[in-house]
């Protein structure tokens, strides 16, 4: 099997039913995509397929046809406007949910450069942060949207 992941062609032999998340984490070593719930409930595993936010834990590898982007490939230098605003506002606590939060927010801003407050909340309510960084996640998205 073959997939384009972070602008590279990757080939592998796995169970076609294996969720993309496990392919990324266990087979390809892209551990920035986190395992949180395995049921599409928390957003920790969020990646982009053709720019759209997808929960990779419930996405079988065989169903993927588009180009996959993970947190490692979001920007070449790690300076996507969201990554920058995340650092400026000291968003993370433990950090475990944050790659998924950033990937989800990046897909939102790509589709909607100036989301309303309500649109941000709606788009982000599928991403859990057990440490409770929501106030700062929200502020960082607002700040990145303003810069754009």
């Amino acid at each position: 099997m073959k997939l384009r992941i972070n602008q590279q062609e990757r080939s592998f032999e796995v169970d076609p039913q294996m969720p993309l998340m496990w392919l990324l984490r266990d087979e390809l070593g892209l551990t920035g995509t986190k395992f949180g719930c395995g049921m599409g409930l928390c957003g920790a595993c969020t990646v982009h397929i053709d720019g759209k936010a997808v929960r990779s834990c419930i996405t079988p590898v065989s169903s993927v046809t588009g180009e996959v982007t993970t947190i490692e490939g979001l920007s070449a230098d790690g300076n996507h406007p969201l990554q920058v605003s995340w650092r400026e506002l000291n968003v993370p606590q433990c950090g475990y949910c944050q790659p998924g939060q950033i990937m989800n927010a990046a897909a939102l801003l790509a589709a909607n450069a100036k989301p309303s407050d309500q649109e941000i909340v709606e788009a982000m309510s599928g991403n859990i942060c057990r440490c409770g960084c929501y106030q700062r996640i929200f502020a960082a998205i607002k700040s990145a949207a303003q810069e754009a």
């Binding site: 796995v14 266990d26 719930c37 920790a44 433990c94 950090g95 950033i102 859990i128 960084c133």
Partner: protein, 772 residues
């Protein structure tokens, strides 16, 4: 100095204490238990206040030759010996060393210590202890390193040490203006003896460049945002295998039969192993069950599904937490064991003009850290190497050594980042599972992955609890009697035959430390046996105790037609020290800190109530459906009050538009991380109040993932949390920050709900109670 000088008295008591400590802490010439602080703003005078650190295993170590190394290019490497789980401690403690060295933070590298308390001092990250116990030793460590560099420069130049001073990663000879970089002096400084404790000169606080500023970001911040931060779930080793375990759904249940062949047919599944369980008290021993080892987590999970294990549930199969709550209520209504007693409660209640009785119940809860537990173990040539998200790494190392029958020195416990913990990862059962499986696999590296379902169904749960509170009020409207019964099982059941009631340490968290100015006071416990593994959940017993006391205050205020904030202040009473040691029936545990320097100070308790109320605009006009509630709790050496604004709509949907929290945590390092912990505590507090409910039926946890054990999501409120920090000088003992934000939240919210709707919440979670 005259013996009446309080400062002098402090010195004497600390010196004598230090002698006692020498026998407890590790041996070795350079390994000292240090508790050194400058008095007031006078640099150069070293004095100490005692913390509980000395009584912890490993005590404290401040030797710069352990914690600091300087490369010839000037790179300063500082060891972080505490676990990072989101509080920022991996930055804050090294920052103290850098501050005292006057190092340039951009040239500091941080390395994580493995679990080893002999070398690094205590590593048990429970009890919000890291800063409160290590602020002094880390400062001493940095000061010692700086003085060694200054002395090295003096030797090199042949001048007096007093003329040499550290300044931004260099040592400057003041009279001549010459300077040498830290890197140039490193080799020479390393050969010098560590300065004696009584010669250490700590920085004058006016010269702080990092402490108290909040300008230095977490050292892992960049890695987190680019997906490079490594948690235990992310560890990968060459040839590593993946294991998941089918654990008994009921505590101490046994696997009777399972279909190993079916599991082995799943492509990638390599081996099926039976894991033993240990009868209670089992400490952190694995729960037992059937492990599936495979070439990927996915294959292991599929293999586990194919096992079809049949269980013998054993004696805990009848545990039903709803029925248990009813039992606890019955116990709470009858006289219990007296834990603290003042005045004559029976007489006072019999003669009170008004008696108000209320009951409060909080169910089991679970941590549900975003990273479920995980560990990797590899055993070769009689040595074990383990990578774990360990909240108590040295404890984990000792338990692994004991489990494998190895010497501790043959076990290396590498500490990864923790993707949250909140107490769960102090219990190292997951690391022991990895160690046992790796051994059975002939030493192959094995990662044990806990899924979310494993995490929620096999936790160390926050204890279910019942509180019964009775207040007696005299004809003038003063509270003259307060009787509170706390009934909950004890987590001590993990460590000893079940004591059947809460221990002194658990009671010191919000019951026996009650600081109300009431002449007749009785605090009791009722009997409650543990039927599940119990653990400490962020702020532990403070949650039920604060919920009961702080709800009750507002209930009594409402009955008497008083403002809840004024009434709370009246109950706290005048500024004074409350000393429960005189009236407790056994021991009073003050968060394991000594009494001196860590007293219960009602001036500080009042202070945060007044600050939170003032900042929140207590009494301001609110839109319809909104209400304000207030609550306060001292815990882990810090004082925290929250004013919660709630909004309840016509459908009974609740949101929290604003929270004002005041925290007095003594002398602090990083106000930015204090704010982030307080913001997070509001979110977690709202989760506890609104959602958290682990229920057992037939001995089984009924919840399994975030759909039936919901945690707060964005948009549910607590998005505007304002933190107000009380400033203090270096002489005010540092309190904890990670936990103390949580306890006041739920009662402040319940009080706000009452203000908004007239409905009183006495049982958590709120769930659908406001609907219909």
């Amino acid at each position: 100095m005259a013996t009446t000088d309080p400062h002098r008295q402090t010195v004497i008591s600390n010196l004598s204490r230090r002698k006692v400590l020498k026998g407890i802490v590790s041996t070795g010439g350079l390994v000292l238990a240090a508790r050194v602080m400058p008095r007031g703003a006078q640099a150069g005078i070293v004095e100490a206040y005692a913390t509980g650190a000395g009584a912890m295993s490993g005590g404290t170590v401040w030797n710069p030759q352990v914690f600091v190394s300087i490369a010839p290019d000037g790179t300063v490497t500082i060891v972080a010996h505490r676990s990072e789980m989101g509080t920022g401690v991996r930055t804050s403690l090294p920052l103290l060393i850098a501050e005292e060295m006057d190092a340039d933070w951009s040239r500091v590298k941080i390395v994580q210590a493995p679990g080893d308390e002999k070398t690094y001092g205590n590593q048990d990250n429970d009890g919000s202890r890291s800063v409160r116990h290590f602020i002094q030793p880390m400062r001493a460590c940095g000061a010692a390193a700086r003085q060694m560099l200054e002395q090295a420069a003096a030797t090199r130049w042949g001048v007096a040490t007093a003329e040499c001073q550290a300044s931004n990663h260099t040592i400057v000879h003041r009279p001549s203006g010459r300077s040498l970089g830290f890197g140039e002096l490193a080799a020479l400084a390393a050969k010098l003896p560590v300065p004696a404790e009584d010669t250490l000169r700590l920085k004058d606080p006016s010269g702080f460049r990092y402490i108290g500023k909040g300008t230095v970001p977490m050292t892992d911040l960049h890695d987190i945002t680019v997906g490079k931060a490594i948690y235990a779930q992310d560890v990968r080793l060459p040839g590593m295998r993946y294991a998941v375990i089918a654990r008994p759904p009921v505590l101490l249940g046994k696997a009777v039969s399972w279909n190993a062949d079916a599991a082995l047919k799943v492509p990638g599944v390599l081996k099926i192993l039976s894991i033993a369980s240990t009868p209670m008290p089992a400490k952190y021993a694995p729960l037992g069950g059937i492990a599936v080892i495979a070439t990927s987590t996915w294959a292991a999970t599929k293999g586990r599904e194919a096992l079809g294990v049949v269980w013998d549930d054993g004696e805990n199969k009848s545990y039903d937490s709803d029925a248990y709550a009813t039992e606890l209520a019955v116990r709470a209504r009858a006289p219990g064991k007296i834990e603290r007693d003042e005045g004559d409660i029976d007489h006072a209640l019999a003669n009170a003009a008004k008696v108000i009785e209320r009951e409060y119940c909080i169910p089991h809860g679970h941590h549900a850290s975003m990273e479920a537990p995980a560990a990797v173990a590899r055993i070769s040539n009689g040595k074990a190497e383990v990578w774990a998200c360990a909240q108590s790494p040295a404890g984990a190392r000792a338990d692994i050594a004991a489990t494998l029958g190895l010497e501790e020195t043959d076990v290396t416990l590498n500490v990864t980042l923790l993707g949250g913990s909140f107490g769960r990862k102090s219990q190292c059962d997951f690391a022991l599972e990895a160690a046992v499986i790796s051994r059975e696999m002939g030493g192959t590296a094995v990662k044990v992955v806990w899924t979310r379902e494993d995490d929620i169904r096999h936790g160390f749960y926050h204890a279910i609890s019942y509180q019964h509170v009775t207040a007696g009020i005299d004809a003038t409207g003063k509270v003259i009697a307060w009787r509170q019964r706390s009934v909950a099982p004890s987590f001590m059941a993990n460590f000893m035959p079940d004591p059947g009631r809460q221990s002194a340490g658990e009671l010191g968290m919000g019951l026996t430390d009650l600081a109300f100015d009431v002449p007749n006071l009785r605090l009791e416990t009722g009997e409650a046996k543990a039927h599940v593994r119990l653990g400490w959940f962020r702020s532990v017993n403070n949650i039920p105790h604060a919920f009961a006391t702080q709800s009750m205050v507002a209930e009594v205020a409402a009955e008497l037609g008083r403002d809840p904030k004024d009434f709370l202040l009246e109950l706290i009473g005048r500024p004074r020290v409350v000393d429960p040691r005189k009236s407790v029936s056994s021991e009073f545990v003050n968060y394991d800190d000594p009494w001196e320097g860590h007293v219960i100070d009602t001036a500080r308790l009042r202070g945060v109530v007044e600050l939170a109320a003032a900042k929140a605009g207590w009494g301001r006009t609110l839109p319809p459906g909104h209400g304000l509630g207030i609550a306060v709790q001292r815990s882990f050496g810090s004082y925290v009050a929250s004013v919660v604004e709630v909004a309840v709509d016509a459908k009974g949907e609740l949101s929290v538009p604003r929270v004002d929290t005041a925290i007095d945590c003594g002398f602090f390092i990083n106000p930015e991380r204090i704010r982030s912990q307080i913001e997070g505590a509001a979110v977690m507090g709202l989760t506890v109040a609104k959602h958290s409910n682990i229920r057992f039926k037939d001995g089984r946890v009924q919840q399994s993932n975030f759909h039936d054990y919901p945690v707060l999501r964005m948009g549910e409120g607590a998005m505007d949390v304002r933190t107000h920090i009380v400033p203090h000088g270096v002489d005010k003992a540092s309190g904890g920050v990670g936990e103390p934000g949580l306890p006041p939240f739920a009662p402040a919210l319940a009080n706000a709900v009452f203000a908004a709707t007239g409905k009183r919440i006495r049982n958590l979670p709120i769930g659908a109670q406001l609907k219909g």
